[in-house]
């Protein structure tokens, strides 16, 4: 009985989270278009539904009805597998990210993340995001087109370079929390002890690396349209293309959630406990705070995309190895010194 209840709770959490992700991702696409329009003094999609709010559904229907083309030169199995690998990675990563504090419902403590208490939570995230590179590289390689291949190769080189500075920035956070558990990391940032304030350099390197890992502008070299047609997804159409598209936005959401968890205090609101609210209200406010931070970061991702031009490939590698990597190392040192002083 007990195990059934636990399984039931997990299932409900998975369902809620999966729906939130799907909805957010489809509306991210909508807001991407809206914000790009606003930044360029345009209006953006406004025909389907009120203010274009049904646009995502129209997009999905259109993509579903399109013919699915597989190039004759392609390796069919891998060509089909790659987009779903991308989606799989994008969706499973959320499992360990806590989106609220522990709440007590009917005398049962429920942690608000799908799989809480995994000792290697952050490692799990890093490992999965590395698998995400395979999706892009395999799609580029299996398409049998030079543009896709170039996109895929670029993606792998870029990911490897930025994974390093990302890893080292995370190390700075782990020194403080002394735990790989995401919920512990959140708790270690109580009050205004947010890692973003304590380790500004690490924050900047991590955010930069997150942009590079999600292939967003200014680091969207793998799909640089002017050079590579569509990059790694040139040869994809219909729902497989949509899968890549969804994965890109889901990755953006993961990156934002990670930044919130690691650097912006997760679901915590500074000095909320001073207000003396009941436990229920506190939990609601904290969950809302998590999603507010998440929304702001996702807006930031889109905002940056429409403000900054793409790097040249050599500049990208230069920044990755000669700037980001040393800065991340410096941050580890700084975090160590700070930890000595504070603890």
């Amino acid at each position: 009985m007990e195990s059934l209840i636990i399984a039931g709770i997990a299932l409900v959490k998975v369902l809620i989270l999966a729906n939130i992700i799907l909805l957010t991702v489809s509306y991210l696409v909508y807001f991407e278009r809206k914000i790009s329009a606003w930044a360029q003094s345009r209006v953006g999609p406004n025909r389907v539904g009120y203010a274009g709010l049904l646009q995502p559904f129209a997009d999905v229907f259109k993509l579903l009805l399109k013919e699915d083309i597989v190039p004759t030169q392609a390796n069919k199995t891998i060509h089909t597998l790659a987009p779903f690998l991308a989606l799989f990675v994008a969706f499973t990563t959320y499992a360990v990210i806590p989106w609220g504090p522990d709440v007590t419902i009917f005398g049962r403590v429920i942690e608000l993340s799908v799989v809480p208490n995994i000792n290697a939570g952050i490692l799990y995230v890093l490992a999965l995001t590395s698998i995400g590179v395979y999706a892009i590289t395999l799609s580029g390689w299996s398409s049998g087109s030079k543009y896709s291949l170039l996109g895929g190769v670029r993606a792998s080189a870029q990911m490897i370079s930025y994974e390093i500075s990302m890893g080292f920035s995370v190390a700075g956070v782990l020194i403080f929390s002394q735990s790989l558990l995401p919920s512990e990391i959140v708790k270690s940032q109580s009050g205004l002890m947010w890692n973003a304030f304590l380790q500004p350099i690490g924050f900047i390197t991590f955010v930069t690396a997150a942009f590079a890992e999600t292939n967003r502008l200014p680091f969207d070299l793998p799909e640089a349209e002017p050079e590579l047609v569509g990059g790694f997804h040139t040869e994809y159409s219909s729902m497989k293309f949509a899968a890549f598209f969804l994965a890109e936005y889901a990755n953006m959401m993961i990156a934002s959630a990670l930044i919130v968890t690691l650097y912006l205090g997760g679901w915590q609101v500074p000095y909320l406990e001073k207000l003396g609210l009941s436990a229920g209200w506190e939990a609601i406010i904290q969950v809302a705070a998590f999603f507010t931070k998440l929304v702001f970061l996702m807006f930031f991702f889109i905002w940056v995309r429409w403000s900054i031009p793409r790097f040249r490939y050599d500049q990208l590698m230069d920044i990755g190895w000669k700037v980001m990597f040393p800065l991340a190392l410096l941050n580890v040192l700084w975090a160590a010194v700070l930890a000595m002083l504070i603890k």
Binding site: W38, A39, S41, R42, V43, W306, S307
Partner: protein, 164 residues
């Protein structure tokens, strides 16, 4: 090896790059709240002034007859071979008139040469830009569609008199 100082070398501030990013971000953020330039077309229509070259039309005099004397110059000059004229005689003072005057709107490139060459100021470019049809037959505009009362074309005719 001595490092050469070039004009385009960045200063330290520019090399840090973050200030420029912030500057760029603030510009786009300001833009998001500025008024938009988009004209929401089917609801709000673009109102061109006299200089606009819409579809070519035939000028219809106040008495209902056309100005055209079927000289064929427009047909001759049209680079897209869009105009087809069949001339006929009339009892009126000018003696000739086009029995059939057709412009194939799939061919017309809105160059305005017909208007420029016409000795009678009989064919002018209108302001009309909503030209759509569902088959090729409909694209051939006959006299019924081309004749436009002169009162509607005053602005263009004035523009031509001042600038042609």
């Amino acid at each position: 090896m001595a490092v050469k100082k070039r004009m385009k070398d960045f200063t330290l501030m520019e090399k840090i790059y973050l200030p420029s990013i912030v500057a760029g971000l603030s510009i786009t953020l300001q833009n998001m709240f500025k008024p938009k330039y988009t004209m929401e077309y089917p609801e709000v229509k673009f109102m061109p002034s006299g200089h606009y070259r819409g579809r070519p039309v035939l000028v219809q005099e106040e008495d209902g007859g056309e100005r055209c004397v079927a000289c064929g110059l427009c047909s001759r000059v049209c680079p897209a071979l869009a105009i087809d004229i069949q001339a006929a005689e009339t009892e009126r003072e000018k003696e000739r008139y086009p029995e059939r005057f057709e412009i194939n709107m799939l061919r017309c490139i809105f160059c305005g040469l017909c208007e420029e060459v016409c000795p009678e100021e009989a064919i002018v470019m209108s302001k009309e830009y909503e030209i759509a049809f569902t088959n090729r037959q409909d694209a051939i505009y006959g006299k019924d569609k081309l004749l436009t009362p002169i009162a509607d074309l005053q602005e263009r005719i004035e523009f031509l008199r001042n600038n042609k």
